[in-house]
Amino acid sequence: MAADTLFHRITDYAHRADPYPLYAELRENGVARQDDGSYLVGTYHDIAALLHDPRISSDRRHRTVPDGAAGTDEGVPPSFIGLDDPEHHRLRGLAMRSFGPPHTPDRIDGMHEDITRIVRDLIAGFEGKERIDVVDDFAYPLPVTVICRLLGVPTEDEPRFRLWSDAIVAGFDPTPGDDPEERQRAGTDARKQMALYLGELAEGRRGHPSGDMLSAFVNDAGPEGQLTPLETMATAVLLLIAGHETTVNLITNGMLTLLRHPDALERLCREPELMPLAVEELLRYEPPVQMLPQRTPLADIEVAGRTIPKGSPLILMLAAGNRDPQRFVDPDRFDPAREDNQHLGFGSGVHSCFGAPLARLETQIALHELLRHLDTPRLIEDPPEYRRSPVLRGPRHLLIGRGGV
């Protein structure tokens, strides 16, 4: 029966708190074809190979199996995450111009102090509270504030784009079976509204550059040209969503994991210089992006002895690859000092995460400051309540108490 397929169980909310046994099952079964014609891949080396395979498209419009989410976004073109080279390369390059090297090498490094200040302000807000919700009180507001500053979006508008963002994320939730049409329509609609909003903000800065990315998009042309207004909208939506939906989960999953591993937590308090390695391990052990659901082969492709036909939906289970014993020693162990940790937490290949340097920096600072300022934190609810999405997985709330009880 359809509802029994592996992917059904993986997306089933009942397994959200611990999908890892299902991922192990996936790795053991090799490439898993689902009833709807999609294919799941869960072993590290196969995923890594597919992420570098130039015959794998990120453009859903290449799917031959009916795909409700494809081509429904009239008006706003796909953002570069859903395009292939050379278009992807051009758009990503134009966006990168105002984000990272070689043109803007210091943008992220330069935010170190800013981020630290935001983090400390949030922590100051814990004052007098006995219970903290790591999500609402910290892990959500932090990346939102950061991405808003970076893009140049007024933080006051946060409630508006929070609704849009929720709808957009729900819209690409690939949970099979439950009728996706309504969710997808709402997602598309929200994306359009967010695009209009961001487009208007950007246009308002044409001729009045204010140092943020939106104004760079409309004011700084490089030799490769400039984003068109529509491209600016699509790119801004992508950055705003990707810039916070994932980092919230990385920070929250991080805190949860550390609280579940008191030895590691204590070690990080003693050896704060381990934090960068620990964050890499978190990206391996509890990656915020659990899967890439939107790849499509452009030719028949052989993976682990099976042929995945051209045009089939291909789902790469990054989180399963991250715990593949063929690649990582003792993969289910959380080791904050793990070496040789080439995880798939940020993907790999041409689409590897654009915002990785920012996500790393935010999470390193966030966890470092949390550990410094929370004396003997403890988990109040384990497992915590999770968010709905099986793709961007993380707790909806994470309640912790302070002070030894």
Binding site: D53, S57, G349
Partner: protein
């Protein structure tokens, strides 16, 4: 079974990239004995790739490219002294200062040096440079900064082309002379050589192919150069980029299989003696080594690649302290990178080990592409230009001897999927030496020519 030889005396000759990485690996894998590094240069180990890039651009001073040491070595460093000989029976390295250093196991990592201009008087003129050491780079960078009227680069291999690129980026007039039909053809073949030529010209290089420099002119100080086509130019700097010479002379009397093509060793980095018998206590790694590679039909390869020096040094070090079955082969797929004229070029495999090439991704027009090379129907190399991310995929094709041409269907395939001849010229036609030398008898065109003694 015998215990692993974790103690005793290990001597490393050549204190640069391969020597340092080998020493680090020895300690990392538990070698507790005495460790001596002998290096002719006075500097602690430094990195060479930036010398022809950031250093010539003035972005990094030449003495700031030191290699990070990844762990405490607890080693005896003998710097500024050259090894002049090897006594394989007495197991001693003979130093030029008269001392000798006994060893139980030896690693040869003496690398290469720049091939000098063949006429010593001309080479000695003020304004004539080569580029191999940080001293070379410091001197050349200072002269470039002083604003010469024209720079002549002799040889358009990777180093020559990078130097030309740096000159143009500094706004200097530059002439490049290359005996072969195009820059980089010795490493990348005709298709990409043509792209390189176009690119150099587009960046304002006065590129002259199919000619040689017949004389450097000047009276103590360089003033110009004569070409084989009868033309001449004024220039006040000439950089001789004619490729590299392997530092093996010091091994002449050692009885090892060491010569102009390097120190021949097996896949486990053990050096052969002149009778082809493998030694068990002398190892070689890095640019000086010449080793068989199964992916290239066991051709002996000499590579001048940073990544090879690191990987081979690690294997050599491991094998120096491991017995028989625990030893590992050095099977890494060759890989290197270069940056010039705004392009990032990366290569995996051996492009010269090819008869055909196809542009599998992107296009020559956009100067963003992946060219895939094949030999007799299998993939042997891939070169990316501003497109490094999919090289991993092609490395896998090379490792698995996948059929050539590779399956079509790349999302960004822009050019005809029909392969064309790879047009790898005979190395004899090049001014610059090849950075990868196939020193055996394949592909078919590359036979050893025996010259009658004169």
């Amino acid at each position: 079974m015998l215990g692993e030889p974790r103690d005793g005396r290990i001597v490393v000759v050549g204190a640069s990239l391969a020597g340092l990485r080998a020493a680090e690996t020895l300690r990392a894998e538990g070698f507790t004995g005495s460790l001596t590094l002998i290096g002719e240069e006075t500097h602690p180990p430094y990195d060479r790739p930036p010398l022809s890039k950031q250093v010539l651009l003035g972005k990094v001073p030449a003495d700031r490219t030191g290699l990070p040491q990844r762990r405490r070595l607890d080693a005896d460093w003998k710097l500024g002294v050259r090894a002049g000989g090897l006594d394989p029976v007495g197991k001693r390295v003979l130093l030029d200062d008269g001392a000798d250093v006994p060893f139980d196991r030896l690693l040869i990592a003496t690398g290469t040096r720049a091939r000098p201009w063949p006429h010593p008087d001309e080479a000695a003129m003020d304004g004539v440079f080569t580029l191999r050491t940080s001293g070379d780079a410091a001197a050349l960078a200072a002269r470039l900064a002083a604003g010469p009227r024209r720079v002549l680069v002799v040889g358009a291999g990777f180093t020559g082309s990078e130097i030309a690129s740096a000159c143009r980026e500094r706004g200097l007039d530059v002439t490049v002379a290359e005996r072969g039909p195009a820059p980089l053809v010795g490493a990348l073949g005709g298709t990409l050589g043509e792209l390189a030529a176009k690119l150099q010209r587009a960046h304002g290089v006065d590129l002259r192919c199919g000619v040689t420099v017949t004389a450097l002119e000047g009276d103590g100080r360089l003033t110009g150069a004569q070409f084989s086509d009868g033309t001449r130019i004024d220039a006040d700097i000439a950089v001789i980029a004619l490729g590299a010479v392997r530092n093996t002379e010091w091994l002449a009397e050692s009885g090892l299989a060491a010569g102009p093509r390097g120190v021949t060793c097996d896949a486990g980095c053990r050096a052969f003696d002149m009778y082809g018998i493998v030694t068990d206590d002398i190892f070689a790694a890095g640019d000086v080594a010449r080793f068989p590679h199964p992916l290239f039909e066991y051709q002996l390869l000499s590579l001048e690649h940073w990544g090879n020096a690191v990987a081979q040094a690690e294997v050599a070090a491991h094998n120096m302290i491991s017995t028989g079955p625990r030893r590992r082969p050095h099977l890494t797929v060759p890989a290197f990178w270069s940056s010039q004229f705004g392009l990032n070029i990366k290569s995996v495999g051996v492009p010269t080990f090819s008869d055909q090439v196809v542009i599998a991704q992107g296009s020559l027009k956009d100067a963003r592409l992946v060219a895939v090379y094949g030999y007799r129907g299998r993939v042997t190399a891939a070169v990316s230009v501003n497109q490094a991310r999919s090289l991993e995929y092609y490395r896998h094709l090379i490792e698995t001897a996948a059929p050539f041409p590779p399956a079509p269907g790349a999302a960004d395939q822009r050019e005809s999927p029909v392969p064309v001849p790879s047009d790898v010229p005979d190395p004899k036609l090049l001014s610059h030496g090849p950075t990868v030398a196939l020193t055996g008898h394949l592909p078919d065109r590359r036979l050893t020519v025996v010259q009658p003694a004169r």
